[in-house]
Subunit: 349 residues, 2 copies
DNA sequence: TTGTAGGCGTTATCAC
DNA sequence: GTGATAACGCCTACAA
């Protein structure tokens, strides 16, 4: 059974037609150019022989690889597998496959990966690694390579993107904490050179203002990365400053988890002493100690929508550039509680 | 800058040689067949033009796609991202890329995925979805497609595989519990049609015997899947049987987590009333409530080694078929404690 | 409606 | 050592 794959020529021979005709008969686009009888015969022959077109040859001829590149920071960050699956499921349905590239937040590595992807003639690129200033975009545009952004946006708004309404999300977090009686609410901000970090920080300031709460400088700490470790560092900083904060809205779940660690390490308790809200609702975050209150948005769907947009771009349907903002949602769990010292059941939702 | 990629012909023209010669000069394997001067000139021309070979054309000619398929149950199971990264990192270093396929444990879906991968002319296949009886292997062998197995083995031992010493792993778990004074130790077994489930079950029985402990039927429950939900169902069953068990060795972390949920739901406590040990040391499992005591083995390395074996197979170095068993390791955390009612500090490690 | 011919970019196999 | 030629499998003007 280790015989070489069936070729179009063999199918044509069996159907008694010329390969070109067989090609037409098998191509849905040009099936109209062929008589019904021949079409049936060719299809039958293909079926009988177990023919499947050689995508390599087809790619060489059509200059379409039916392959797209996907850039993510790191697959082992639980945020990304759902996103990747959403993307792949949609791509697979259209006959495309994804080449995953983990950049580990390293620009040189990213450049190298993109170079290799382009060598493999990817038809498009979906990136979840954009910084606000993202040179890759200009290069891709110059090369005519379709690109969509996921989660993170760039300041250059001329590319389609699928993300979440970060400002609205962080507002939900702040409103929740305010409703629990907290007034000195801190923010562990993400890196300010990526849109998620910046938008959530801005959203935090706006939400606090809307609640009539002040944001003195000592209530904001900037993390250098969206990592547990940085969350711990920032949490510790916040506690050491003795700023009297009773709640923390973190820019994502990783930072929140790290912050909880810092709180415990300081001999205090979350949520009894300090409430913490995360952002993302990562898988398994509901089973941590304590289960994290957080802002959810549908990662699978982000990938799914991004794939759809990318496919449209590749197909050349020049729909106007669109930025899609999915709606976030507050998920209340065990890491938030009424402000210590506030009497009575202030558990209005 | 949207000009078409540079071709070999252009490089040859610039260097003043025939394309075939340029090809030889650029191919490390055949560089010896070309004079040093020409080789230098060609390399210089390629450099100047920014030439990179078209892998599609090369694949068509050489019948090597430099692409391998990777079958996993589900990327969103945190077990697999590290494995996939280990695999991809090794593959990338050899100029290969991975096509990931999520089977969701569905045979039809798996068949379809493999079909599509073969249509794309993958050079090899790495599978983490093997059941003991795994028809895919025979087909692949018949088609001459190199295959390596990861984590799960098949009864057909004629394929290279990289896994963990499951029996040794579960023995570590049982020994740990026994040392804590537990005598009625239960097992939540995994599905018995996959090697991990079967080997861990057998290992459990053997380990109990070695400790001089009995394994009455009521102390073993068989899960239908390695899922949290099944863990909960099995845990509940165990508690309802009122078998007096004070410890559970689960066949993996998911089952263990589910079991902990069942214990809490029954108004009992882990580890105060019942100790639980998992298997795998999944990412984030150390941050659960309680932090899970478990058996660790290096998933990244499993992927890495599997990729290495697959590459050798593809290269045709017909090394004898080898099954690699990586060493497991006990990681003691918060889900295990001294048997309730046992006096004194029995905390010998 | 169908056949013909040429080419996508590369490499293997001949000759010279 | 280098050049010429053909072929990998498919698609598509163009011709018939």
């Amino acid at each position: 059974m280790a015989n070489p794959p069936v070729t179009l020529k063999e199918v044509a021979a069996r159907a008694g037609v010329h390969p070109a005709t067989a090609s037409r008969a098998l191509n849905p686009e040009r099936q109209g150019l062929v008589s019904e009888g021949v079409a049936r015969r060719v299809r039958a022959a293909a079926e009988a022989l177990g023919y499947s077109p050689n995508p390599v040859a087809r790619s060489l001829r059509t200059r379409r690889s039916h392959t797209v590149g996907v850039l993510i920071p790191d697959l082992t960050n639980p945020l990304f597998p759902p996103l990747v699956r959403g993307l792949e499921d949609r791509l697979a349905a259209a006959g495309y496959v994804a080449l995953i590239g983990n950049t580990d937040g390293n620009d040189d590595r990213e450049r190298l990966i993109v170079e290799q992807m382009r060598a493999r003639r990817i038809d498009g690129l979906a990136s979840a690694t954009a910084r606000l200033r993202y040179p890759l975009l200009a290069q891709a545009a110059a090369a005519g390579l379709p690109v969509v952004l996921m989660n993170r946006m760039a300041t250059d708004h001329s590319f389609p993107a699928v993300s979440v309404d970060n400002e609205r999300g962080i507002r939900l977090a702040v409103a929740h904490l305010a409703a629990l009686g907290h007034r000195r609410i801190a923010h562990i901000a993400g890196p300010q050179d990526v849109s998620t970090g910046l938008e959530r920080y801005r959203g935090f300031a706006a939400a606090m203002a809307a609640c009539g709460l002040a944001v003195p400088a000592e209530l904001v700490v900037f993390a250098r990365a969206f990592s547990i470790q940085e969350g711990t560092r920032c949490g510790r900083l916040l506690l050491e400053r003795d700023s009297g904060c009773t709640a923390v809205a973190a820019a994502n779940d990783m930072l929140a988890v790290g912050c909880c660690t810092a709180i415990e390490a300081a001999g205090r308790s979350c949520p009894a002493d300090v409430s913490v809200v995360g952002f993302n609702d990562m898988p398994f975050i509901d089973r941590l100690r304590p289960p994290l209150t957080t802002i959810r948005f549908p990662h699978y769907q982000v990938g799914h929508e991004a794939a759809g947009a990318l496919l449209e771009l590749i197909a050349g349907r020049s729909r106007p550039v669109r930025v899609l903002r999915l709606a976030p949602e507050l998920v209340v769990r065990g890491s938030t509680a009424v402000r210590p010292g506030v009497p009575g059941p202030s558990s209005r939702r």
